[in-house]
């Protein structure tokens, strides 16, 4: 089965929030200098999900990424994990795309690639966390979407998807092709094996421009964007530490249980 995985490059989410700055004029987040861009964590798990399906059913995995600058590193990372082919779609106009804009670009690229049974996205991006691209993309492509997957199986030309819900999970079946967004419960992404790591370094990753995928840049005009940023702020986190005491460990445990029950 052939899978297309959409991955996004984000500033390293391990960077403490206080290191970021916000430009109030342009309403942009300015990451600190030298922050390495990394693959969005959920997207990495989407690649893992694709690889697990490939381990079982063979097929081909194509990875694509959209960006304004150099985003080939995240595609290369997916290749080193074991994906077969990668493309990046780059243009200066792609800076600050909203979910609709990103989905539009991705849909054009996916239509160019064609021949897919499954499209995978991360459940949300590690930077903005909007979690909309997957669903909008499915809508544009006219295929079913299942979100928050924690397990995907291919059974009789159908996809059986385990989906995380608040108090457990549900199992859904969807035809091929479908779009599935992947949640972290699917499991840890694999560490790229030695050989694929070295081979991925040598692979060519073609760069597509808007015209290569038949994209009309006017579709991405600001006026046509569906979202508008009103304000941005860096979250402040307060830490409070309270030592719970008790004459016996059992007593301390009871106190702790009471405290916790008050919190939730």
């Amino acid at each position: 089965m052939n899978t297309i995985v959409c991955v996004k490059q984000v500033p390293d989410p391990e960077i403490p929030p206080a290191k970021f700055k916000i430009d109030p004029e342009t309403k942009k987040v300015v990451p600190p200098p030298g922050v390495p861009p990394v693959i969005s964590v959920y997207d990495e798990r989407a690649v893992e999900a694709a690889l697990r399906l490939k381990d079982k059913h063979k097929g081909k995995i194509t990875v694509i990424s959209v960006g304004a600058g150099k985003v080939s590193d995240v595609v290369r990372h997916a290749l080193s994990m074991g994906a077969d082919e990668g493309f990046v779609i780059e243009d200066g106009a792609f800076e600050n795309l909203d979910s609709f804009g990103t989905a539009t670009v991705l849909s054009k690229a996916i239509q160019k690639i064609g021949g897919y049974d499954l499209i995978l996205c991360g459940r949300q991006a590690a930077d903005w966390g909007a979690g909309q691209v997957g669903s909008i993309l499915a809508e544009i492509l006219g295929i079913p979407v299942v979100t928050f997957a924690c397990g995907i199986e291919a059974v009789d030309k159908k996809l059986r998807v385990r989906r995380v819900v608040k108090d457990g999970f549900e199992i859904l079946e969807t035809p091929m092709p479908s779009l599935v967004t992947v949640s972290s419960e699917i499991g840890l992404p694999r560490l790229p094996a030695g050989m694929s790591l070295m081979l991925a370094r040598k692979k060519q990753i073609p760069v597509w421009k808007p015209q290569d995928i038949g994209l009309d840049l006017s579709d991405l005009d600001k006026e046509k964007a569906h979202t508008e940023i009103i304000g941005l702020s860096i979250p402040t986190r307060k830490k409070e530490c309270e030592i719970i005491t008790g004459t016996t460990p059992a007593e301390a445990a009871i106190q702790l249980a009471e405290k916790l029950s008050q919190l939730f």
Binding site: P32, G194, M198
Partner: protein
Amino acid sequence: MATREVFWNISYPYVMYLLAALGVAYWIYSLYQRYQLWRIGRPDECTQEIGKRIRVFIQTLLTEILTHRKFLRDPFPGIMHFLIFWGWIILLLASAVDAFTYYANLHLVGTPYLWFSLIVDIGGLLVIIGMLMAVLRRYILKPERLNSVFDDGIITALILIILVTGYMVEGLRQAATELKTHPEWALWSPGGFVFAKAFEGMDEESLRFWHQWLWWFHALMTIGGFVYVGLVFSKFQHILVSPLNIFFRNLGPVGVPAPIDIEKAETLGVGEIKDFTWKQLLDLDACTNCGRCQDACPAWATGKPLSPRKVIQDLKVHMVKANKKQTHSSESVPTLVGEAPTEEEIWACTTCAACQETCPVYVEHLVKIIDLRRNLVLAHSKMPETAQLMLRNMQSRGHPWAGIQSLRLRGDWTSEIEVKVLSEGDRVKTLFWVGCTGALAERNVKATLSMAKVLKAVGIDFGVLGEAETCCGDPARRAGYEFQFQISAEQNIETFKNHQIQEIITMCPHCYHTLKNEYPKYGGAFKVIHYTQFLYDLIQQKKLNLSHALALNLTYQDPCYLGRYNHLYQEPRQVLQALPQIRLKEMERSRNRSFCCGGGGGHMWIEEQPGTTKINQMRLEDVLKTGADTVVTACPYCLQMFEESIEHKGMKETLKAKDLVELVEEAMEATRT
């Protein structure tokens, strides 16, 4: 004139020669068979530079083997082996002299003969004393590190029987001959004399009868010994195999694994016994199961499953078994890891090199363990979860740190002091290579700043890479993730070349080892110096004014990668001694016997397996025994490990962990203001 008749009372001595020739031939055949077994391994570079090897071997023979320098570090077993070793040398030389003089018709007579008899008897006596010490140790004292097998008992008994019957034969001859004619001659063979006195009352016929029988028994036991040793490939073979191993030992830096050629590699690391090189298999047979490495191993000492002795012995058993199965049946070769040794054992190693340092026969454990890790990681993606996290971090952000430990960014420290941060196109001769931990971990940044201040104070023109510095690749290489190391090495070498760097000063001994000893194979040969060497040179040139008295009681932790890997024991100590008003008290285990902090081999990030205690806590006890108020080291891992163990013990008020350069900077303070 004092003498004795060679082959007195013995008819058909050539029968003995014939049997001996057969016995020795069989023994040589057994060695040949073993040679064939080693050859299932891959080729090894150790057959190059034979001339240099001969030179080094002779040097080792004179300074180490004949003197037993390494053995005697452990007095009891050291003296024991010394006695047996020299006793046998005397006996073998004496036999050779005996045979030569007999067949060359140069019969030993008079005083030389008497001295000769005395020396031979002393040789035998030395062996007997040594063997009795061995029996005492192995079967009565039973130190933990000795793992006795059947073969040990057999060869012990065999040697004792051969020696005692030798004396008895001599005694019987003396009782029948010289005791009656020249009793003063007999005193020159004290071993035989004891028995001669005991047999004195017997009549000549029975003396001759028993002499003949015992003579043949003695000869047959000796010849049988050769056959036995060949038959079971007894550890007695170490007499030949271990020197061979010493001859072919790695002459380069310690613990440097061979690069994997991506284009040609058929296997990644060692998955089957035949993936080792033949020299690595020779290693297995050179091991005598003496257990010195086990005694030195920090993982074993703290109750982890790893014993370097057991790893080598298990691999040896596996080698024989796997080869038998391959040649004699269609059964598949048993898997290597899991059967011998286990994954837990392989991952418990901190690559501290204490095992190799102590091994008298130069068994090389480290590279084998890394080769086994390579296969697990590269071919099977099997590794502890924390190892995976570390490698993932290296891959995505160029350093192994994550979570709260990376509250800093790589270049943050440069904003706290004015330093030249190299940007594209900048050229500088001297690079100050900070290392991941020195740049990112808050505690270590203090040491980094100290070093930068010292460098500035002495007016060195240097640059740093700041954000552009990435990991040297050490943790990835030790964890077996070779390709990540290769990527890091190639990237860094390119960076060094772009800035036309000639000289690199490193903070971290692990970076030091990697840059200095491992990068040359990837095309990066730069002058790499550890900062302790640099400070030492400054002191030698009287360029450091250390006038501010510190008044501290210090002890010094030798970082493994500085000491055992690179033999820098003296430099850091000289720097310490130059500090005003300090007292340095060494720990019992120091210099090349130093005990690891627990942070090497990727273990700064790979979680320590449960054991009886943690390695850093055990080492802290060594520190406490010195009564020092400050433990000084020159490695960021050691510093982290000590900070952690001091905190764990609740001793933060009374014991400080310091980096050497921090003390130097403090001592300089007075001069700089």
